[in-house]
Subunit: 414 residues, 2 copies
């Protein structure tokens, strides 16, 4: 008899950045981090896993394309091994309680795993966090594992470090831990997704001709060569973890924005202090920072902010802001980074912010005191897409399988 | 009777960067720095100063345009006051020795100062260092001041911090000093210009649409807001000062190159860690770094380098390399950052490196193992000019006055 579960998992965007591992196999970070889980209405991974005694081997399809040599995929194997081990223990315990004949030995079955993202990989959004969170969550459901989300986060962490944060909705702390075996390097929820309903996010997808350094490779070069990273780890992050947690708990946007921007800047500063240096920000990214800085200047107070930018290991900007300011920010970004005429997916307005003036976005009036000449307007499609989204939940069960009755992907790409 | 002196002064490019003042009036830096003085054959400031009892006020012309409100130019006044004071002491001493009637009271005369750079200000090259060094040197000659160059450097420092380094040729250490009055913040020569004759420099003038943050303003924002700068000042620079001095003294290019690149990167990292962040590198600058990194990769050894990039407070790259590698580097830069057809000043080959193949620069063969696809070729004139120069002397006397017999600039712009 075949067993199957499907679930979806969210993307998370860090506001205190994770950069550097103290153990590359167990994926133990050099510092704690804080992230926000984004709504799955816009961005999500979806995974179906079927276990069957009829499957001759475990197979994996990512976005309709089979991944081969799974044995060499150590991170995947770590997640499969850890969950299977827990399932086996659970089966043994159940056998003791209700008799071995009444327990399905699913832990011994091979798996067909099918995973898809609803956002293009080309967009440069970190898909490994949502992907591994979704994988591990689906395994926990398939195996009916009797463990907490925080326990599960330690397994997801071994797939992709930041995946541990995507197991929770809302505001999430990945405690770096200090133990060598990683048993205290885990995710905890600071506050649920509906704690701060005024907060929203804009993702600006930035064109980039150059292929960047992978974060896995990049962060270890920073650990090896940056003299500034150690100072950040020991002297800057611990204080910021406390301040950011407080800012979130008290919904203090000014403090939240200040730390978010400073921490993004410092992460990229450490990349630049790497030898040879790593660059993720390009001229468009930097100009988004200038535009948001000028937008924040319109408050007239250096400690009062209307928007906070943050950048991961790529040129895309994520802008956190209170909902009331989102239309203004979309208008400003669209003014300086306009779409080409054929770019129909530039901004889809999922929350219907511009019911009557969608064609005027980018031409609406700017805030008072905004210095319009701060930067020249960029060529069309320098920002390819603006995604508007909100704070969301952790992984959830879905009933729409990605596998057909024979256990093969419904959407198979040749 | 009128007294007049003319001299020229060089540009210097730091390899251990100066960024941050502990005293903004006296211009006392937060860390020591090391620079190389470039040949005046390519880049120089030139200054004529005439002192006359007939002048009704002190006047200054920069590149043919009169500067007004000199009283508000505190840095200029500091240099004038300090040199006049020394002249007055010298006059008093001379009066005692040879009688007051035999001493010209030049210290009481007003001055006409005329200064020109032979490079366009638009090029974004730091002209204040060569300008103030030249001004103070010319004053010392006019006033016949009996002081050492190191003493004089303390005066030039008060005009523009890095000007103190341009008073020496060759390799120069600006000791930050620790005294509150600045009396130990001074320049010293590490080695003269002919110490390392194999070393040469290429300056790549990079187009930039955006107006950058001035270094005077920028560095104090870094001092105020960057958590990483203090670590750099206290824990990184002191060690690098020693290693760089040794590398220079032993003509160890590999070590010289490594520290030069790392220190440039760290300076820009601290700019990025400033809040709001300061950006001086643009996509062209970053791509020059990538190209030089790839060029260095062709040595096959991570500690062996053929070129070292360094960037000041702007997008222009300065590349230090041994002379034998300069043609190869010019060819590589020209390949990825080619000139437009009309750009006749792109590369003037002052040392006649390409006597028979100037038209093929940028099309010559690349070094073995060089990955040609490292970056795409940039649009024409992304690098506007490549200046090839060498290590040079400090300021020197010139006999071609910039003033006409009436004491006004020969080249006056209306």
């Amino acid at each position: 008899m075949a067993h199957e579960r499907t679930s979806t998992g969210p993307v998370n965007i860090a506001v205190i950045k994770y950069w550097g591992k103290r153990d590359t196999e167990l994926i133990l970070p050099t510092n704690s981090s804080i992230s926000i889980t984004l709504s799955q209405d816009q961005l999500r991974s979806k995974t179906t896993i079927r276990a069957s005694p009829k499957f001759t081997k475990t197979r994996l399809w990512l976005n309709g394309v089979e991944e081969h040599n799974l044995d060499n995929n150590i991170r995947l194997q770590n997640c499969l091994r850890a969950t299977k081990k827990l399932r086996k223990e659970y089966e043994d315990q159940l056998s003791d309680e209700i008799g071995i004949d009444n327990v399905q030995p699913i832990s011994s079955y091979n798996l067909h795993i099918c995973s898809e993202n609803n956002f293009p990989t080309a967009a440069g959004l970190a898909s490994s966090a949502s992907g591994f969170a979704c994988l591990v969550y689906t395994l926990s459901q398939l195996y009916e594992l009797p463990i907490s989300t925080t326990e599960l986060s330690k397994i997801a962490r071994q797939g992709s470090g930041s995946a541990c944060r995507s197991l929770f909705g809302g505001f999430v702390n990945w405690q770096m831990g200090i133990k060598q075996d990683g048993s205290d390097s885990q995710a905890l929820q600071i506050a649920p997704h509906d704690h701060w309903p005024e907060l929203a996010a804009l993702i600006c997808i930035v064109s980039d001709a150059k292929k960047g350094t992978s974060s896995t490779e990049g962060m270890q070069n920073t650990v090896k060569t940056s003299t500034l990273l150690q100072y950040r780890i020991n002297n800057v992050v611990p204080e910021r973890m406390k301040s950011m947690t407080n800012a979130i708990l008290h919904k203090n946007f000014n403090k939240f924005a200040e730390i978010t921007m400073k921490d993004s800047n410092q992460f990229h500063a450490c990349c630049l202090d790497t030898f040879p240096p790593i660059f993720y920000l390009n001229d468009v990214s930097r100009s988004i920072i200038r535009v948001i800085t000028e937008y924040n200047n319109t408050t007239g107070r250096p400690d009062e902010f209307k928007a906070a930018y943050t950048f991961d290991a790529g040129p895309n900007a994520v802008i956190y802001a209170l909902k009331q300011n989102i239309p203004e920010i979309i208008n400003i970004i669209s003014k300086y980074f306009p779409p080409s005429k054929n770019n129909v997916s530039y901004f889809s307005d999922p929350y219907n912010l511009f019911p009557n003036e969608k064609e005027n976005i980018g031409k609406l009036s700017l805030p008072n005191n905004f210095n319009e000449n701060i930067i020249p307007v960029f060529p069309d499609d320098s920002v390819k897409q603006i995604l508007h989204t909100r704070i969301g939940n952790g992984p959830r069960i879905n009933h729409d399988s990605l596998l057909n009755p024979n256990g093969y992907p419904k959407n198979l790409k040749s």
